[in-house]
Symmetry: C2
Subunit: 318 residues, 2 copies
């Protein structure tokens, strides 16, 4: 079991634990995007991960970290989508039950995936308070083990394996850019960089309409009555305490990104890489393109976090 | 130089000739799509080819097959998009001029790519007659060498290299499905299968609204006053004579596909493979899904021919 605070040793243990279950995703490059950005971009393709997002790493590590007794009544979580689908798939792989509490404004395709992987979906009102209350009720009534989407140390350790693979495939990097929502990926990445690439800068890309990580890490302020407004449905959570503590200690920098820049970057990734990534993934490229002076000439790693974009309405539909 | 009729020896020569310039694209698989189709699907990812389509293979082979004297005044072609972009990129690689005659209804993004690769774009009216007349004019005035998009033997031989790589990566296949428009890819694939996998069936997927290959190969009829109506902008050409002859001799089968099925298959490929493919690519999966009894339990290879989809209007745009 990981300690109450995740460490890089936990990341290494997670890498070994999830290896039989998770994909080692490819690193993708584009000479055209390098020319546009003025730096060398290495995209870690986690949209090609099982269940379509890096979230499978953390969920899988958490599920397989449980003892048989702890796992007996299954697992439960609250999630706007990708963590729920990842936990459902990981639980199915271990043959245990999974309960997912999802807000009513979640992307329909993500909810369908959760159900298709065999989990029980419990709907709740939007907002982190309603989600946590509904999830506590499910845990109490089922005896399922809570796997929090970004505060669980086993989840943070699992997310840190993406950066480990990125460094192993892409070679030395000057900067790594990841999106920040609840902070699980960001914190796991910080653990990996601190151990393996201490001179590599960590930049967190956050929607300008959901800027609580920026408020806390850059200004030391906590936003009151936080209501996220962003196209990045995966980044609407507030920064969790474990992630906050790791990121503050690491000195991670936060760049705010407008949704229009994120959508433009998403179109570029679809056109140039031919990869379907969701808005929460494209925010990393948007951050680089919006601040060229901060990345000029560097070797930059970016995690394409997920590919579960809402494709309900495409231009080709009659 | 290839003979007037392409042979499998020309395919092998093309493979060696284009190797320094073209990508060896990956074969992609999806357990979810296999379950949906009831067969084992091996997708050859030519949307990840240079210039975003398999067309680079044939164009590159044609450009590098020319003697220095033949190449001196550059190359010219007519194309709805992907062949034009491919020829422009191949010509740039050899450092020679390129002229592309494109119809006024071509996808804007494809025309932009042609110009970005350094070719001169000449606009013409839609329809194969107008295209060929305009192209003849350009050839006469510039001295450029015509590289026909699907009737040139060097182009057919180059397209045949995609199936060669597919077999080498995917192993034995029971059926290969490719789209058919002008017939260059279809004919090149037939040459490769006849030599390397004579028991492997070749199925051509054709839009129901542009069914001239079906008329000629299945019924021996030539359509009068052919006006294609299909979302598959890469498949609006009529079957060329060299392709027709090779495909008739090979006994290739044609399946007609409705555009609605193609768009549904394209959404599936975007959702499950996370790959941006254009409608003309998705028609192969649509053909398999529309005729499950013809593919049940088989090992099926499908060429994802290109990824240059029109992304001008996405659901996320404000």
């Amino acid at each position: 079991m990981p300690a109450a605070v995740a460490t890089f040793d936990d990341v290494l243990a997670a890498a070994a634990r999830i290896a039989p279950h998770a994909h080692a995703t490819p690193v993708l490059r584009s000479a055209g995007l390098d020319a546009l950005a003025g730096c060398s971009l290495a995209f870690k393709g986690e949209h090609l991960q099982r269940a379509g997002a890096f979230k499978f790493r953390g969920a899988c590590n958490a599920v397989w970290s449980l003892s048989a007794g702890e796992a007996a009544n299954g697992v439960a979580t609250h999630s706007s989508g990708n963590h729920g689908a990842a936990l459902a798939l990981a639980a199915a792989g271990r043959g245990i039950a999974c309960h997912v509490v999802a807000p009513s404004d979640a992307v329909p395709g993500k909810l369908a995936a959760i159900a298709a992987y065999g989990a029980v979906v419990h709907r709740c009102d939007p907002g982190i308070d309603a989600r946590e209350a509904a999830c506590a009720g499910v845990v109490a009534s089922t005896g399922a083990r809570l796997v929090h989407p970004y505060a669980d140390p086993a989840v943070i350790a699992g997310q840190g394996t993406a950066a480990l693979e990125l460094l192993a495939s892409a070679g030395p990097l000057d900067t790594v850019v990841v999106p920040v929502g609840g902070g699980g990926l960001a914190a796991g990445t910080a653990l990996t960089l601190a151990a393996c690439a201490p001179d590599c800068r960590l930049v967190l890309a956050e929607p300008a309409g959901a800027a609580d990580a920026h408020a806390r890490l850059a200004r030391g302020e906590r936003l009151e009555a936080f209501t996220p407004r962003t196209v990045c449905d995966g980044l609407r959570a507030t920064l969790g305490e474990p992630g906050h503590d790791i990121l503050r200690a690491h000195g991670a920098e936060v760049l705010l990104v407008d949704d229009a820049d994120t959508v433009a970057a998403m179109r570029l990734l679809w056109q140039r890489l031919k990869q379907v990534v969701e808005p929460s993934s494209a925010i990393t490229l948007a951050a680089v393109l919006a601040h060229p002076e901060r990345f000029a000439g560097q070797r930059v790693g970016l995690v394409l976090t997920g590919g579960n974009a809402n494709l309900d309405a495409l231009p080709w539909d009659a």
